[in-house]
């Protein structure tokens, strides 16, 4: 045998051919890259721009209205007495956070880019939150035994799934601009105002007790984490004595188990307990109030943010509804019947049999919907919402540094999507392992 393989000429030896083919392929790719690179140098030369990162630290020269924090005390009158009283470590952190999203045309391009990232994340996170709730509602409604409700849900899903998101955003945006003006705002309980300048919501502002409260909160959380780890260690040790080597769950899965059972009460109880211990109120409600030209205080959502948010939420929720429906339907009918026949209550059938199986089917496509939402937030560019992409475009327009700016934009999106897919792979492996062991 060995003699035979030695006699094969190298151009017919599959092992050598494989390597040769790959080498040629890589050489081709390198040549292509070189070709593009030399062209780029030439092209940049023609445009009289030089490839450098210096532009990031030069003055931006444009203003960003959206998502930037402007200190009300600076605009109104500098000596706002309430601010003076607030001191301490946590107040300092809040102020630093606020400063990080303060923007002024004299700031650098890098800062502008950062504001863009913050805006993209802001609209994506709020959008994901709302789309999940609405999507689950409609997904469940579509499976309702009530004919009318399931029809309404089906029409909602089909309409918003089958029309382009861009069209939807461009449909909502003018509708917000024709809302009543500031003086005739639509008013809910004197705290939520809707008008053509956007939506104004009340917000929680740090007050006198804030600093103390945060310390209590932090110590509470550390304590809780210690409890969780302690419980996991206890469970791991006690169960490893009972179970066979092969059946023994890993320490990580023990940790997850104990976190699952203790996390919810901790998250609910600790802040309240801390609030109870704090002598002064840690947070105060700041309601939007009508001043000369506009509302001041609270959180204001610009028309662009609102339109983009509505568009993203409605569009994605239609897809999430389908994901949820498919997930629930994927649980074989026999599973429910079997669960009922062993005497489980209807709520137990859902909690112990249907949902654990459905969630395995739901989570992977749900994550990809979340990713789509984050990527689709770049459509804000059509209504001048200053997200990552829009600000990148402005920077390109001002400095001409298209190559590095594009590299930065793509890197930001890739970081988000690659970390998400890494998490997804980990999750899928975990789920399938549990599946085979149980």
């Amino acid at each position: 045998m060995q003699q035979d393989s030695a006699n094969i000429p190298f151009w017919r030896d599959i092992r050598i051919l494989k390597i040769l083919f790959q080498v040629l392929f890589i050489i081709g790719i390198i040549l292509l890259a070189l070709f593009l690179y030399t062209n780029m140098l030439q092209g940049l030369d023609d445009q009289e721009t030089e490839l450098s990162w210096d532009f990031l630290f030069s003055e931006a020269g444009f203003d960003i209205e959206e998502g930037t924090y402007s200190d009300p005390s600076e605009e109104e009158n500098d000596s706002d007495p309430s601010d003076e009283n607030l001191k301490g470590f946590w107040i300092g952190i809040v102020n630093t956070l606020r400063e990080s999203i303060e923007f002024d045309p004299s700031d650098t391009n890098l800062k502008a880019f950062w504001i863009g990232i913050v805006n993209t994340l802001r609209v994506s996170i709020v959008g994901i939150f709302c789309a999940t709730i609405i999507g689950f509602l409609f997904g469940i409604a579509r499976l309702s035994s009530n004919w009318l409700i399931s029809r309404i849900a089906a029409v909602y899903v089909e309409i918003f799934r089958n029309t382009p998101l861009l069209l939807q955003i461009l449909f909502w945006y003018p509708l917000i601009l024709v809302l009543p003006n500031v003086r005739e705002s639509i008013n809910f309980f004197d705290s939520i105002f809707i008008n053509q300048r956007g939506v104004f919501l009340p917000s929680a502002e740090p007050a006198e007790g804030f600093n103390t409260w945060m310390w209590y909160l932090l110590s509470g959380i550390i304590l809780a984490i210690l409890v969780v780890i302690g419980f996991a260690v206890f469970r791991y040790l006690s169960r490893s004595r009972e179970l066979q080597q092969t059946d023994r769950p890993s320490f990580v899965s023990n940790l997850i188990f104990s976190a699952k059972w203790t996390a919810a009460p901790i998250i609910l109880i600790v802040p309240f307990l801390a609030w109870f211990l704090t002598p002064d109120a840690p947070l105060e409600l700041s309601r939007p109030e009508l001043q000369k030209f506009n509302f001041v205080g609270g959180i204001d959502l610009t028309p662009e943010f609102t339109a983009l948010l509505i568009g993203l939420t409605v569009y994605t929720s239609a897809f999430i509804a389908e994901v949820v429906r498919a997930g629930i339907q994927s649980v074989v009918k026999g599973q429910r019947e079997a669960a009922r026949s062993v005497g489980l209550k209807e709520s137990q059938v859902l909690r112990l049999v249907v949902i654990p199986q459905a969630i395995q089917v739901i989570v992977p496509p749900l994550t990809s919907q979340y990713l789509n939402l984050a990527k689709n937030s770049s459509l804000g560019i059509f209504i001048a919402f200053p997200d990552l992409f829009q600000i990148g475009k402005i920077i390109i327009g001002q400095t001409g540094q298209s190559v590095p700016t594009f590299a930065m934009i793509m890197t930001c999106y890739l970081i988000v999507s690659l970390t998400t897919s890494a998490f997804m792979n980990w999750y899928n492996r975990r789920i399938t392992r549990f599946d085979s062991s149980s």
Partner: protein, 416 residues
Amino acid sequence: MEDNTLTQEIKPPDTSKGPVRWLRDNLFSTWYNTILTCLGLVFLFLFFKGFLTWVFTQANWRVIPANLQILMIGPFPIEQVWRIGIVFCTLLTLLGLSAGIWRGIVLQMAIAIVGVCLLLLLIPLDVVKEAENTSATLEFNLNIFYLIFIKRIWLLGGLVLLVGTFFIGRKKDGLKKWIIGGWILSFPWTMIMLHGFGENTISTTNWGGLLLTLLLAAVGIVACFPLGVLLALGRRSQLPAIRWVSTVYIETIRGVPLITILFMGSLLLPIFMPGDFQLDTVIRAMVALTLFSSAYMAENVRGGLQAVPSGQVEAAQAVGLSYSKTMIFIVLPQAIRAVIPAIVGQSIALLKDTSLVFIIGLIELMGIRKSILGNQDWTGLHAEVSIFIAVIYFVFSYSMSIVSQEIEEDLGVGNN
């Protein structure tokens, strides 16, 4: 006595299906369903009251017939419309033949298209517009007569061809190969017909409206297929270099939004290409859409490849087939069959994504929308135009999703 009681008839359970019974089962089965039904009814009443009032009293629908032509074909010269007519008839002929031979889902598609064509024949939207113009000048114009009827003649011709070739296709099974070839050739044929040659060349800047939308979507869907298959095979290849390059390409493209790629086409392409390199904007958009959707196609096909049992490959190798033959004749047919619904879903997404190309200056439906709203006569009619365009997109995407559901049922996916 005892016998009597034993044989006493027990009424069978009520299986009547009257409307009252239906209402009780589906709307008022429990107390919370009753509440839900009432809430739903109130919602529907308020919604329809508001919406219908707007539709019939406030909306200005004249904007649609007045701009129908530009919405459909953009600034395509009207005297050259026969080109579109010929393309339309060619495609319907091919569809008719395929429907006759393959029946099933193709036939259903053909029937749907007949329905849409009949609807277009009968709806006198353009007549309204032309009538308005004529009443203004108060004279009968032959040209307008021509405009109204020429479209209907093409539509009718297409329909006749579709139905006629259906019956031909039913009889001649041997045409299969020719028809597949015809579909492949129909693509360059469409481009040549629309572009024209010699003196009659129509610049791609005159392509617009629904015509351009459909063209972009069709090119994207068709062209991304071979590229996607290659990438999918590359990602599953045993050669690490090819696997890595494919993986990086797929993950990069899938990780960034489409407008990044469209913008790269318009901002970075001039930098990365030799000095005098010029690429038509429409072609640029087509390339960007193809590159973009091929990454998604690759993932779909990969899903299918994973579903093919490894025994198939081993059996193919055992009978001595080479790698390419194994893939083309054994693996890919099975893999693609399994993921047809996913591919249709991706096609719908691509159709919707074509709306983004208006950011690089193309005048497909969204671009036309902008130019209509930019016209002084029609400012402020956002909602009317948007709803009309939404209906167009909806008709196409929804019918595609119905097709995909039918295929899913045919393949027996998700039966449990």
